[in-house]
Symmetry: C2
């Protein structure tokens, strides 16, 4: 029982580290977006799925996910503030505020992970009401 | 196409209303907890599932969910502040701060809904690192 708890605690720490890396890479200057897209793709499992926002296109596999991040981030400057990082039962939900192009967007990302703490799925919750013009 | 968008927008509004009702009921004085538990259970579909926190017990069906809320809320005073309400693709994620017994807990609830905008599933993300002693 104590072994299970130890593994579980280690896994929680690893998952929190991956989410923090994700949030750090998501904030970048316009020159750094391309490199951040490559590095963030490396956090995903080979067969991961990525849906942002939920209800939009679902990108399947790390190659498609890398392309999606390049489309979003190449040449784009954005700041990201971590509001709350919640890890439970080997899954994570994270509330961030993304500032770009004179807008602030409240986004809640929900992530699952494989046994190596690679991101197995990332689904982003945000809608028009979560976008504020600054 | 415009019909689909209209339905989708109406559904988004209905879902946001249900989540706001949920958050309002979650904040209550010690005398009001019991009534809030009954009223919140009425927001769930008959065959809904409730998991709080994720990794803990899963309560299946509105009867079991009603009992779970009575266990949590009867005779307990708590305040709830809405931090961010995110609706996308007919699902919702909501970041709230719950204040009770001298502690503040950042919770992210993720909900799905049936066709009548009843809650089909509610899964709550929070762990020890989300609890602050006031």
């Amino acid at each position: 029982m104590s072994n299970i708890n130890e593994v579980s605690e280690l896994r929680t720490v690893k998952i929190a580290q991956v989410v923090r890396s994700y949030v750090e890479l998501a904030g970048h200057g316009s020159a750094g977006g391309q490199r951040s897209a490559d590095e963030v793709a490396a956090l995903f499992a080979d067969n991961a799925i990525f849906e942002s926002p939920i209800g939009g296109d679902v990108h399947r596999g790390v190659g498609a996910i890398r392309s999606a991040y390049h489309s979003m981030w190449d040449g784009r400057e954005q700041g990201v503030n971590l509001v709350s990082l919640n890890v439970a039962g080997g899954e994570a939900a994270v509330h961030v505020q993304v500032v770009l192009s004179g807008q602030r967007v409240d986004v809640i990302d929900v992530m699952t992970f494989d046994d190596d703490a690679k991101i197995a799925s990332l689904r982003a919750y945000f809608g028009p009401s979560n976008i504020v013009t600054l």
